[in-house]
Symmetry: C2
Subunit: 541 residues, 2 copies
C-alpha cells in the first residue's frame, strides 16, 4: 500500500516538523534529529510540574499532538512503533523540568518502561524530582499481570495536565495520575490491519471477522470474532468493559478512532454505544476522534473512567492542543418538531376562462410534440424529453380544476409546485424553480412577462446555464425578451431562431449534453429549446 | 470491505443521532427520519442570520459536525453521496430562519443546486429572506464552467459563520460568502478509492499511481499520475494551485484529510507543504484534519484562500464545533538547543582497595558462571544469560581504574551508567536502573544494603516483576532482605532458596519466559535468579 511519506527513516522527524510549523509558534522541538525527537511547549517557563509522555510513533496525534497548555509539556517520539531511546527521554525531561519536578506518563510496553525508567534515574542523578506512572488500561488480556497501555492514556494526560496547569505539586499530580490509571479500562476492535511503513500490509483478518482486544502496534488482537455489524461490535466491546465499570457511578467514555475508520462509521459506533447495555452508565463522552491511533487501522477503541468531581472538572477544563476533542454530556437525542409549511397549502381554486384556455392549449401543444421531441432527444440523450414534458402537461391538465386560475401569482406558484411533484428529474426541478420564482416576482408587483423573466434568471442561477450552453434557455431567453414589445409573433420568431442556433452548439456547457461528443450534437437542435420554440410557434396558430 | 455500520439505509440517521447524543445538548435534530435528516443548533433563537448547508452524507464531519455557534445553524443530510430532498432542505430552512433571513451554502453539484435552489424558492413563498451561494472551489478541471464544490467550502462556513454570529445582516454575510467563494481554490489527491457502503470497493488506482483532481464522491480523479512520495505529491498539488493564488498576498491553506490517510501521513504532507514552492505564500494553516471527507479515501486536499483583515479575523474567531481544527500561523520550526547533561559527567576515579577487590571478585564469579548460566538459559530462552552477564562483568573489569571506588554513591551510579552503555537488552537497562536508583538512595544517606533494596524496588516498579514471577528478583529480593541481619551467609542461603524455588514456577509473569510453555520451564531454575545465587554463594567462599 502506497502512503503519503518520503523515506521511511525520515517519517517521524518530518511529521514533527510539520506539526511544529503549523503550531503558530506554540510548539518547538529539540535539536537532536534524527535520534532525539522531542516536541516541547515553546512557552514553557518550568514554573509548574512538567508532564512528559511519548513512545513509538504511529499513534498520532499522540503524543506530540497533545503537547500544549493543560496537557503535556513535552512528547518524546521513537520510530514507528519503537520506543524512544533513553537519551531522547532524558533530553525531554531535562528540557522542561524545573524545581516543581516532572511526571513521566508511560504506556505499559516493555521498551517504554525501560527507557523512560532509566531516563528517570539519570534525571534524578541531576537532582531533578522525577516521578513515573505506568498506564495499563487494556482489558483484552485480563490474566496478564501487565496489561498494555492504550488510548485510556489520554485520561491521564488530560487530568494530570489540568491539575499541573492549575499549579498542583508533583505529589498531587502523581497521586491523581495513579488514581486515574487505577480506574481506566479500554478495549479495541479492528476490521483490518494497519500499514506499517516499509512493510507489506498483513492480510490477517478474513472477511466477516474482526479482531477484539487490540494493542496499538498492529499486533494481532487477542481473539478473532465473527463480525456482523456496528451494533454487534459495540455489544462485544461493552461486554468486555462492563465487568470493570464501577457500579452505580457515571463513567466518561473515550471513543478513539484507531486511524482508518471513517468519521461516519465513528458516529454510528457512538450511536450504538448510546444504546448499548452500558449506555445508562455513561455520563460523558470524549470523541469520537483519532487520539491514539495505530497508523491507519480500521478500528476503534473504547475507554471508560468513572470521572467525578475534580477529575471531571479537569477533563472539562479548556486546554491548548487542537487534537483534544473536548468532552460532552451524553444526552438523549433532542428531536425538534418539523416546522409548519412542509406540506404546501394549495391555494383555493378559482376560475378564469381565458387563462384556462391558454394553459390547456400550452399543455396540448406539448403533448402533441411528444414524439418529435423524443426523436430529437434520442440524438443527444436518452430520448425522453418529449415524454417528460408531455407527462407534466397531462398532469397539469388533470388538476386544472384545482388551480387558482384567476390569480397569476398564485397560479405560477401552483404550477411550480405541481411540476416539482410530478415531473421529476433535473428539468422538473428547474421548471419548478422557474414558475415558483416567477410567482415570487409577480407577488412583488411585476407584470407577468417581467415575472417570467425573473423566474428564468433564478432558474439560470440555480441551473447554471448561460446563453449558448445548448439548453432551453437559448430559446426561452430571447422569446421572453421579445414578448413585451413584439407580442407572441416576435417571441415565437426569437424562440425559433434561438432553438435553431442550438443545432450549431456542439460544446454543451450545462445539462446532460455535456457528456455527449460534438459530432453527435451537430445539426440537431437541443430538444428543450425546440420545445420552447414549438410552444411559442403553435400558440400563435 | 467490512465497515462499522448496521443497515446501509440507516447509516445517516444513526450517525446523526450519535453526533447529537454526544453534543452535550448543543445540537438537536428535526423529527422526520428517515427522509428528513436535519441537524440544528439547540440554542438557536433566530435573532441572527441563519446559515444552512448540507448535501450528501459521506463527508463527515461536514456538514452536521460544523453546526454550532460561529459556524452553521443547520445541516441538511442526504444519503451517502446523494443530495437531500427539497423537502428536507426546506425543513432545515424553516426550522432556523427568522426575520434576519438565511443563507444557503451549497456545494456545486447538480443535485444540491437544484434541491437547495427549489427549497429556497419554496421558503421565499413563505416570505422568508433566503439567499443562496454556490461554492465551486475545485480547480481540477479548469475548463469546466461549473467547478465542483469541495473542502474549500469550510472557508465559507467559518467566515460567513463568524460574520453572522457577530450580527451582520444577510446582505453583508452573503456578499462576504461570495467574496470568499471567488477566492478559494482547492485540489485533491488520493492513493486509493473509498469504500461506499453496500458497494464493492473499486480497485481503480494501480500501485505506483495516484489520482489528482478529485471530487468528494468517490468519482475518479481528473488524471492518474505517477506517485513517488509525499514531496512529489505536494509538488503536484502546489503546481495546480499556484496559478490561482493571488500574487503578493499571504494565503491561508486548509489541509483536509479525505478520510483514510493516517494522522502521521497528514503531518508529513504538512511538512512538505511548508517547504513546497508555494510555502512562502502561506501565512496561515487550517488543519491537517478530516473536515470534508470522502468516506475512508486515502487522500488529502489542499485549499487556498487569501484571507486578510476581517476574513482572517473571522477564521480566527472562536467557534463551537469541535470538528473545526482552528487556524495557526505557519512559522519556521523553532529548534531548541539540547539540554546539558545528556553526556553524563563521569565521576572522578578514586581508589579503594577493599571495594576494588570485592567488585573484581563479583565480576570474576559471573565470568566463571558463564557456561553454566548459558546452559540453563537454553532450557527456557535463547541461551545467552551467561554471556550477557559475563560480558558486562568483563566491561566493568576493563574500566575498574576509572571508577569512583571510594564513594559508594558515585560508584553505584557509575556502574549503572556502564551497564546501560555496554550490556544492552532489557536486562542491561534493568540492572542500570537498579544501580542508578541504588546510587540515588545512597546519596540520600541510606546504608548500602538499604540503598540496594531501594534500587531493587525501583527496578521492580519499572520492570514489573514481582516475587514469584520467575526472575532474578526471586533470588535478589530474599538475599537483600537477609543481608543486613545475617550477613553474606544468610543472604547466600536466601538467594539459593529463592533460585531453587524458581524451578517450580512454571507460569512466568514477567520477562522473556512468559512466552515459554510450562513444561519446558519445570525443573529448571531461572538463569537470572541462579546467577544471583551463585554470586552470593561464591562471594562467601
Amino acid at each position: 500500500m502506497t502512503q503519503f511519506i518520503n523515506k521511511k527513516e525520515d517519517i517521524v522527524a518530518e511529521a514533527i516538523d510539520g506539526l511544529v510549523a503549523a503550531s503558530g509558534g506554540r510548539l518547538a522541538r529539540l535539536d537532536g534529529f534524527p535520534h532525539i525527537r522531542v516536541v516541547v511547549r515553546a512557552d514553557w517557563d518550568r514554573s509548574k510540574v512538567a508532564l512528559v509522555s511519548g513512545g513509538g510513533a504511529g499513534h498520532e496525534p499522540a503524543h506530540a499532538g497533545f503537547v500544549g497548555p493543560g496537557m503535556l509539556t513535552a512528547a518524546v517520539c521513537g520510530d514507528v512503533f519503537a520506543s524512544p531511546s533513553v537519551d531522547a527521554v532524558l533530553a525531554g525531561i531535562l528540557a522542561v523540568t524545573g524545581r516543581a519536578g516532572c511526571l513521566l506518563i508511560v504506556k505499559n510496553y516493555t521498551g517504554d518502561r525501560l527507557n523512560f525508567g532509566l531516563a528517570a534515574e539519570r534525571a534524578r542523578a541531576f537532582g531533578l524530582n522525577v516521578r513515573v506512572v505506568i498506564v495499563d488500561d487494556d482489558v483484552a488480556l485480563p490474566d496478564l499481570p501487565q496489561a498494555r497501555g492504550v488510548a485510556g492514556t489520554l485520561f491521564v494526560h488530560k487530568i494530570a495536565g489540568a491539575l499541573a496547569d492549575s499549579g498542583a505539586d508533583l505529589a498531587t499530580v502523581t497521586a491523581a495520575a495513579e488514581q486515574v490509571i487505577a480506574g481506566i479500562h479500554s478495549i479495541g476492535m479492528s476490521l483490518d490491519t494497519c500499514t506499517v511503513p516499509g512493510a507489506p500490509k498483513e492480510d490477517r483478518i478474513p472477511a466477516g471477522k474482526a479482531e477484539l482486544g487490540l494493542g496499538i502496534h498492529g499486533e494481532a488482537g487477542v481473539e478473532q470474532v465473527d463480525y456482523v455489524d456496528a451494533r454487534g461490535a459495540v455489544a462485544m466491546v461493552a461486554e468486555k468493559l462492563s465487568p470493570f465499570m464501577r457500579p452505580g457511578v457515571p463513567h466518561t467514555v473515550l471513543i478513539n478512532n484507531l486511524g482508518g475508520a471513517s468519521v461516519l462509521e465513528m458516529q454510528v459506533l457512538l450511536y450504538e454505544l448510546a444504546r448499548s447495555p452500558i449506555a445508562d452508565r455513561i455520563g460523558h463522552v470524549i470523541g469520537p476522534a483519532a487520539m491514539m491511533t495505530s497508523l491507519d487501522m480500521r478500528g476503534f477503541s473504547v475507554s471508560v473512567y468513572p470521572a467525578d468531581g475534580t477529575h471531571l472538572a479537569a477533563l472539562e477544563a479548556p486546554c491548548g492542543p487542537a487534537a483534544w476533542p473536548g468532552i460532552s454530556r451524553l444526552t438523549p437525542v433532542e428531536v425538534v418538531n418539523l416546522p409548519d409549511g412542509l406540506k404546501p397549502i394549495k391555494p383555493l381554486p378559482s376560475a378564469h376562462a381565458p387563462t384556462r384556455a391558454f394553459l390547456t392549449r400550452c399543455c396540448e401543444i406539448l403533448i402533441g410534440a411528444e414524439a418529435l421531441l423524443n426523436q430529437l432527444d434520442a440524438k443527444a440523450g436518452d430520448g425522453d424529453t418529449g415524454s417528460t414534458l408531455a407527462g407534466a402537461a397531462r398532469s397539469l391538465l388533470s388538476v386544472m380544476d384545482d388551480l387558482p386560475l384567476a390569480d397569476h401569482t398564485q397560479l405560477c406558484r401552483a404550477i411550480g409546485l405541481e411540476l416539482s411533484q410530478t415531473m421529476g428529474g433535473s428539468s422538473g426541478v428547474l421548471l419548478a424553480i422557474f414558475f415558483a420564482a416567477a410567482g415570487d416576482a409577480a407577488s412583488s408587483g411585476l407584470s407577468l412577462t417581467e415575472a417570467l423573466k425573473a423566474g428564468l434568471q433564478r432558474m439560470q442561477e440555480i441551473g447554471g446555464a448561460q446563453l449558448g450552453d445548448r439548453t432551453m434557455v437559448d430559446a426561452l431567453h430571447p422569446a421572453l425578451a421579445s414578448l413585451a414589445e413584439g407580442g407572441l409573433p416576435a417571441a415565437a420568431r426569437a424562440a425559433r431562431e434561438g432553438a435553431n442556433a442550438t443545432a450549431q452548439m456542439v460544446r454543451a456547457k450545462a445539462g446532460r449534453s455535456t457528456y455527449i461528443n460534438a459530432e453527435q450534437l451537430r445539426g440537431h437542435a437541443d430538444p428543450g429549446a425546440e420545445a420552447v420554440a414549438i410552444l411559442f410557434e403553435r400558440l400563435q396558430g
